[in-house]
Amino acid sequence: MSNRTASRPRKIFALFTIRELPALAILLVSIVWLSLTRPAFRSIDNLTAVGQDAAFVGILACGEALVILTGGIDLSVAANLAMSGCVAGMMMIAGVAWPLAVVAALAVAGLGGLVNGVLITYRRLPPILVTLATWFIFRSIISIVTHSRNYAPFPNSFANLGGGNLPFVVFVLVVIGLALMTLRTRFGRRVIAIGGSETASELSGLPVDAIKRRVYLIAGLCAGLSALLMMARNNNVESSVASGYELHAIAAVVVGGVRLSGGEGTILGAALGAAIYAVLHDALILYGQRAELYGLITGAIILAAAFGEVLRRRVEESKYKAANIAVTGETASK
């Protein structure tokens, strides 16, 4: 009898251990709140714009999530985005066929990611410092090369890709692809294993360095993809594009319940985090506030997510302790 009464609160607590739940709750609440108070939110045009915004940040965030799952961090993704976007922009304005420019942009983005990966694995430098440095290096190289010029307009056949729902469709495909990869493939399990314990993975014979290099490469490719979609939508590109997006991407990942030290979390969570970004960003505009104030919301949702994480950890710890008491009959000494 007593067992049955005790199980009810425990079930409620068990909900807290679902890592994506806070993100899903914030997203649903803000969507319901906005559609009730601001009818403009429900218009097709607005929803399309929100979907596009979610796609640009979301694709970045999915790559970033993989990096964070391994226990690393990549601060250079937005700079990489600007670098590869500007390369494609320069080529298109110079008259190169746009599919070729697209391939070149992805190659540059992948190379940027690989540079991070090589510095981090081969030279064993801390990811936060390496990507802090490459953030500056990518951004400044492309500013110097382009003289901070604006490249526009692009061929219609390319620019048309950015309108409508194509960015969002690509985003969904990226999420599905990467989510299946982390959940269903050997590579994905290894990524999560490295984040759980790098030493244990290395001792079990996993090619830790090769996996990390590939993860930073994928984060770079995601940045390139995001750059191309953003260019197509805006129909212009310059070296300062997407500044601050590394923050939005990391915030999305953290809000989505991915543990910053790696090993726990999902791509879906990161995607939900990006959707929150897009919806709340839209809310600021609908309420006639300046977009710069978004920093306050970013700060608040990062904090909310971090509090959720602390709460979840406490619940899990107490569960672990309870289990321990049940097995050994005494509290685990701390």
């Binding site: 961090i73 510095l119 030279r123 064993r124 430098l125 801390p126 936060i128 410092l129 390496v130 802090l132 440095a133 490459t134 953030w135 500056f136 290096i137 951004r139 400044s140 190289i141 500013s143 110097i144 901070s148 030493t199 290395e202 923050l247 990391i250 915030a251 953290v254 910053l260 030290s261 300046r290 710069e292 104030l293 978004y294 920093g295 306050l296 970013t298 700060g299 608040a300 990062i302 904090l303 971090a306 509090f307 994480e309 602390v310």
Partner: protein
Amino acid sequence: MSDRTDAARRAKALPRSARRKGPLNRLPPETGVAVVLIIAVLYLSFTQPYFLQRDNFRLIAKQSAEIGILATGMTYIIATGGIDISVGSVVGLCSLVLGALSVVLGWSLWISIIVCLGVGAACGLINGLLIARVGMPSIIATLAMYAAARAGALLVHSGGHISNIPTDLVNFAQTDFAGVPSVAWIAIIVAVSGAVILRRTNAGRLVLALGGNREASRMSGVNVKLVEMLIYTAVGMLAGLAAVITTARAATAEPNAGTTYEIQAITAVVLGGTPITGGRATILGTILGVITVTVLRDGVALAGQDANMQQLIIGVALLIAVEVERWRLRQAAASIEVAA
């Protein structure tokens, strides 16, 4: 891990005499930055005649002031194993608070400065509470502050920048004391007291112990949470102080003040030889790091290049610094194993 053992094996392969004498094994942590600084100064003195002028040195001293103050605080945070990426944004917020109080509301300058320092300390206290009490990773808590403080600056004064800063403050930035700009004196005082506290007092040893082994410090009766909270609060206040100097030098308060200061400060600390993993720190190295960053920026400006090139150089300098530090630690690890 394997690197360390490799280095040890290589060191062991050396003849005994070479192992014992190996001067590289006993290099102080400041070596790397000192070498970079000397090379940069020599190169610039030969290629840029203006570099050796007295006015240029005064400019370098002035430009080093804000970063010197922030980097001294950042050294403490990195010594505890944390990181603070919000200082640049807090400088922006405090700068606008100072401008709004002293110009828009017409408060007296001194009270405005004190409130400005207080706002900085409050931001630092929030960081400290989140990190020490709530137990958040320092990068997440300060990332949130990085975003929020910059946006908060716009709430303080929505019209953007504020000019007509009180002339007393603006003139102060132009004055000299004993041949050195007054603002540089402030940085010197902060850095020297930072170094003395870290090296010569119990408090400093607590900071290093905390970074070396948090759990062991806690079990030895150190109030770990309090120490951590105090450090973040003090760094917030230093950001307020840096904001006063920035506002005085620019003669305007603007929300974008202090952009990239956090990166320059972190670069200076790492360049100076303080390991990012915590437990050890050198303020002297940090100050050399600050001067190196400023000299490199100055050199780029003298060579007629723009801010983008300065960013590129800082990024490359950071990478070199991290690489040199890793190499030095390997040498040290090898020498320890050889000795044992």
